[in-house]
């Protein structure tokens, strides 16, 4: 009996190794190609296949919602997901290994930018085709991308700098209101602000300016926290930043100019999927550049030993303030995007729950890691949506998961890992 089970686990192990061997050489390009084919499949074959399997429609989030609502449909969902996603992705990634590797190698002959653009276009095409299926997917995708920006920027403070900041919803609110005011005043005929000041066709072109303005307002707010709290280390920042979040919330509640507690609506529909995607990529790129430069690594030095950093010529105060404003800027941009995606904001949105969400994403994904933030934001956003049918129990399962991660990986899933674009997109050689 024991021998048998031993043999079984042995077999499982060799199977695992075989699978790993099969796919170890598939470069990112191959996987993206597979994903693209899968979503194209879904686009054309999804509806008929769902019909055949007795599903009401194409499962929006890989069937999680349907499975939780109607357990009887689980087999159909599993078949659907296997046929539409798993099979095409795995087959194409495997089959395309050799040409994809060759292509990836060829692309790297040119400046790295070209290869990056090719990968990103593939990624964008995949996301676009996937989100085409329903408006719900588009919304989920946009909110997930915004969550990536938020998480990444908070990771700069809570991870790289090692301080504990609670003011991200406040920065987000500042950015959201500033960007909304900008666009609504200039380009919308609105009850609150009156007629548009500029022709509406200009709007989409000015939208980046609105977001940057939102980011700058948030950064100015951050300066108000940074000046008093960076004189010392410790819990001061956590307390001051928490207070800041509540101050911003009640300030907006009492500002009738921007709608007070009723909120601000009628933002124009500028935050389309490509715009949100591009801003997210910009955020990842700039943040990754920053944390990999010596100026950015100085944050880690300050976190690990501030006195030594200071003695090694690092201007610690400037380093901390720059990073804090940088993070606040991106939180503001995320807020601006958020406002134009939902097209309605009220002060209640930017409260403790938002804070808990972002903090969870940072600590779940992993401190000090751009990878980790992306993984944390994407997985928790999608999980939050997938578990929606459980209603209140969702808020038991997600924290439980977080606790488990904290027990087994105290710094998060993928912590302290450098996000090296070149390694990510390079062809894989036989090992």
């Amino acid at each position: 009996m024991e021998e048998k089970s031993g043999k079984l686990s042995e077999n499982m192990k060799t199977l695992k190794h075989k699978i790993r061997d099969l796919y170890s050489r598939a470069p990112l390009l191959g996987w993206l190609l597979g994903a693209l084919v899968a979503v194209v499949f879904e686009h054309f074959l999804g509806d008929p296949l769902a019909d055949i399997l007795g599903l009401p429609k194409i499962p929006v989030l890989f069937g999680c919602v349907i499975m939780l609502k109607k357990p009887l449909l689980i087999p159909s969902v599993v078949i659907f997901v296997t046929l539409i996603y798993i099979l095409p992705i795995s087959v194409i990634a495997r089959l395309s290994t050799v040409p994809a590797n060759r292509l990836a190698a060829k692309l790297l002959d040119f400046p790295i930018l070209i290869s990056v653009v090719v990968h990103l276009s593939l990624l964008y095409a995949t996301l676009y085709m996937w989100s085409e299926i329903s408006a719900y997917r588009v919304l989920t995708l946009k909110l997930t991308l915004i969550a990536v920006i938020l998480t990444l920027s908070l990771n700069v403070i809570n991870g790289y700098m090692g301080e504990f900041s609670c003011s991200h919803p406040g920065f987000m609110a500042l950015g959201a209101y500033a960007a909304s005011t900008f666009t609504v005043v200039l380009f919308v005929n609105d009850k609150l602000f009156g007629a548009a000041l500029l022709p509406p066709w200009l709007g989409p072109f000015m939208f980046p300016l609105a977001l940057i303005a939102g980011g700058i307002v948030a950064a100015l707010g951050a300066l108000a926290i940074a000046i008093p709290s960076f004189r010392t280390r410790g819990d001061y920042l956590a307390i001051i930043s928490l207070a800041f979040m509540f101050i911003i919330k009640s300030m907006i509640e009492n500002l009738e100019v921007v709608g007070g507690p009723r909120g601000l609506s009628s933002q124009p529909d500028y935050a389309s999927l490509p715009i949100v995607f591009l801003w997210t990529i910009a955020c990842i790129w700039i943040t990754n550049n920053f944390v990999r430069s010596t100026l950015g690594k100085a944050l880690s030095a300050v976190r690990d030993d501030e006195m030594a950093a200071n003695a090694m010529t690092v201007n610690t105060r400037r380093t901390k303030i720059v990073a804090f404003l940088f993070a606040a800027f991106w939180a503001g941009v995320a807020g601006g995007l958020f406002a134009h995606v939902i097209r309605y904001i009220n002060p209640g949105t930017f409260g403790l729950q938002k804070l808990a969400e972002v903090l969870a994403m940072v600590y779940f994904g992993g401190l000090n890691s751009v990878y980790g933030s992306i993984v944390g934001a994407v997985s928790l956003s999608l999980l939050g949506e997938a578990l929606r049918p459980l209603e209140i129990f969702k808020w038991i399962i997600i924290p439980l998961l977080l606790i488990l991660v904290m027990i087994y990986r105290p710094t998060g899933l993928i912590a302290f890992k450098e996000f090296n674009v070149r390694n990510l997109i390079k062809p894989k050689r036989q090992t």
């Binding site: 700039i286 550049n289 920053f290 430069s293 010596t294 100026l295 950015g296 690594k297 100085a298 880690s300 030095a301 976190r303 690990d304 030993d305 006195m307 030594a308 950093a309 200071n310 003695a311 090694m312 010529t313 690092v314 201007n315 610690t316 720059v322 000090n368 302290f416």
Partner: protein
């Protein structure tokens, strides 16, 4: 003109006078030592010179410029490198990153370069990396460049501190017990490194030591500190034979 001059520097911790009217002059290329029993105020003097504490009284002049009261990073950038008594390394960073970090004050690409990864930044970082590798070679840990420092042995960690302090391109190097906790073999290697650094870079070195063998062999002039006062100053032989020093620090028996 002396490279580093400290004039009548005093420092109080609350009501306690930790350092009393301390004077120091170090010439270019000189190696000086500072000895004294535990709690005599040796590390406090280092912290005062490097700007971590502000002296209650007195002046510190580095290479002709008054640096009293400046931020530690400004003083360091003016040419003052130091190591710490109880290793103060950055536990999540690699050896190479440590040495590169100490070149912070020489970075000129600014935030634009940091955010957008400009060509200037890449060139500067590459240059810094090369310099860092050279220093690692000098202290003999180039093979550990990509290791995270906490995985290193104690002796190697001390070498990282040394390389990091040298990366500032200091004119004067302050070593706070550079051989503390080392085994005899590591000790000899460290002394060799100090000599080499002194010879090749022409640095002035000011060191605190507990092991008399090190101070006696390396230093030209030794100061002895007790309760914040300098009780003796002189060559190793003079110090060894000074009765006050023997009473305060070495004990009644002779040095080995």
């Amino acid at each position: 003109m002396s490279l580093l001059r400290v004039e009548k520097m005093s420092h109080d911790f609350g009501g306690l006078r930790a350092v009393n009217s301390y004077n120091l002059e170090i010439e270019k290329g000189q190696i000086r030592g500072l000895i004294g029993p535990n709690g005599a105020g040796k590390t406090t003097i280092f912290n005062l010179i490097t700007g971590i504490y502000k002296p209650t009284e007195g002046d510190i002049i580095l290479d002709g410029k008054r640096v009293t009261g400046l931020q530690p990073h400004r003083i360091a950038a003016m040419g003052l490198g130091r190591t710490f008594q109880n290793l103060q390394l950055w536990r999540h960073m690699t050896v190479l990153e440590h040495v590169q970090m100490a070149r912070y004050s020489r970075i000129s690409y600014g935030l634009i370069g940091a955010f957008f990864g400009t060509g200037k930044r890449n060139r500067e970082e590459a240059k810094n990396e090369e310099k860092a590798y050279n220093l690692l070679k000098m202290v003999g840990i180039v093979h550990l460049a990509d290791q995270v420092v906490i995985n290193l042995s104690y002796g190697d960690q001390r070498r990282v501190e040394m390389a990091r302090a040298l990366a500032i391109e200091p004119k004067i190097l302050l070593l706070d017990e550079p051989t503390a906790g080392m085994n005899p073999e590591e000790l000899i290697q460290m002394m060799e490194i100090i000599r080499q650094v002194h010879k090749e870079l022409g640095l002035a070195i000011f060191l605190i030591e507990h092991r008399l063998k090190v101070v006696m062999e390396l230093c030209e002039i030794i100061q002895t500190l007790n309760f914040g006062h300098v009780i003796a100053e002189g060559t190793p032989e003079e110090t060894q034979n000074n009765t006050e020093v023997i009473d305060a620090y070495l004990g009644k028996e002779a040095v080995d």
